[in-house]
């Protein structure tokens, strides 16, 4: 019908290699999220700190992360830092780039979530004799988490999709990189990338389903 013979068998034979790549992709996504969340919390604190320097750094980080392409951020980690004599491996460049991006977007989400919780909640906690830290920890943070949970899930999905950009800095162990290398060997471009697309789609669905389950368990109110 197409004058083109699909050759799926050849591609399925490579599936184990691609699944190994998917594991690396997941690893980078998870790492970049964990570090990204920690950094985002710091950036949020910096922005609330009242210190000009700290909030300036945090604001610059957030705005650059949100207003330039993720691929640009990965290039900066790889080629840009190279100008300072810091040479990162493709894996680390990709991780640094995605983490930078995650932290920026998450910090903005956290700030929005913080704003959404009325001052009266902290006041109510304080009036019961709680210290500022206790009120923050037991009253503000749990409510923030609920508001920020969906954006965090979306960011996790983005992190997975962004791993595909690693190939531009020479990454070849993640799902996209492995697929690219296999393509160079077999030239079954369409079949190979179709399978990669399905794997990516399934990873995203697993993340979204897991997030829904966690949210359902966690936020009963």
């Amino acid at each position: 019908m197409f004058g083109y013979t699909f050759q799926w068998k050849q591609v399925f034979a490579r599936l184990p290699q691609m699944l190994d790549g998917a594991l690396v992709t997941m690893q980078i996504a998870v790492l970049s999220m964990v570090i990204g969340i920690v950094l985002a919390v710091l950036l949020t604190l910096f922005r609330q700190s009242g210190s000009r320097l700290l909030s300036g750094i945090a604001t610059a980080w957030v705005e650059i992360a949100r207003n330039t392409p993720a691929l640009f951020q990965i290039y900066m980690a790889h080629f840009g830092l190279g100008s300072f004599g810091i040479h990162l491996s493709p894996y680390v460049s990709l991780l640094v780039g995605i983490t930078f991006n995650n932290a920026g977007y998450l910090a903005e989400n956290f700030r929005g979530a913080l704003k959404a919780i009325p001052e009266t909640q902290t006041r109510a906690g304080r009036s019961l004799g709680m210290s500022p830290l206790q009120a923050f920890r037991h009253i503000v943070v749990p409510q923030m988490l609920r508001i920020a949970f969906l954006p965090m899930t979306n960011q996790m999905v983005w992190a997975v999709l962004m791993t595909s950009l690693g190939v531009t800095v020479g990454m070849n162990t993640d799902l996209f990189g492995v697929t690219q290398d296999l393509n160079a060997l077999t030239f079954r471009t369409f079949e190979l990338f179709a399978v990669a697309a399905v794997i990516f789609y399934l990873i995203v669905k697993v993340i979204q389903t897991a997030a829904r389950l966690i949210a359902w368990r966690l936020f009963r109110y």
Partner: protein, 217 residues
């Protein structure tokens, strides 16, 4: 740092790349938005059950890396269907669908945000479905949707950096070509980053401003 080998011709080369970035973005956002409005209205109108196939297809565009979408479209059109299409056309086509997929969600959300009572009031005055849609729903839904839509348009501009994979030399690719030749990565990347930032930052601010203003009403 300003001691650079960058020539006027190189700058022109970068400017051309920037032009391609803007052109691809404008075409894709314009077509994608039109398509997205159609999809969004359909999704809202026929209900979740009948819209399921459409919802699924649109979701795929949001769950597969754009880079893979571009490679697949290119391979399918070129190798499988043996069509001769320029990389530019493929890039615009894929980005249009990509935009439409996100835009449909925004449109549906906007329509759902219009209170049912307002619409009943319109219909009770004898307005037809079309009149209700154009003079009640559209203005109100636009208020909800516009800030997100600005975010989407800027997202598409940033994501258009990936169309290099179908041989379209946009801004970031131009920058990379110069980096390889001149070996001045930091300087060149800063020019490139500044370009994206100077377009994206003010528009993102505008979106944030509109969102705050309209939610306070």
């Amino acid at each position: 740092m300003f001691d650079t080998a960058l020539t006027a011709a190189d700058l022109l080369f970068l400017a051309k790349g920037a032009g391609v970035t803007i052109l691809v973005t404008l075409i894709s956002v314009a077509l994608g938005t039109l398509l997205g409005i159609v999809f969004g209205v359909i999704r809202y109108q026929v209900g979740p059950w009948w819209a399921a196939p459409l919802t699924f297809v649109l979701d795929v565009f949001r769950s597969v890396p754009l880079l893979i979408q571009l490679v697949l479209a290119n391979a399918f059109l070129g190798v499988v269907l043996k069509l001769r299409m320029s990389g530019f056309t493929v890039a615009c086509g894929v980005l249009t669908m990509y935009t439409a997929a996100y835009c449909a969600e925004i449109v549906r959300g906007g329509i759902e945000a219009v209170p049912m009572n307002t619409r009943r009031a319109a219909r009770s005055l004898g307005m037809t479905w079309r009149q209700d849609m154009t003079s009640i729903v559209m203005p109100l839904a636009t208020r909800v949707a516009l800030p997100s839509w600005i975010g989407l348009a800027l997202g598409v501009m940033k994501d258009s950096a990936l169309v290099y994979v179908v041989q379209v030399t946009e801004l970031l690719k131009s920058t990379q070509i110069l980096i390889t030749r001149l070996q001045e990565p930091l300087f060149l990347l800063m020019i490139c980053g500044a370009f994206y930032f100077l377009i994206s930052f003010p528009l993102a601010r505008l979106g944030g401003y509109l969102e705050r203003r309209w939610t306070n009403d």
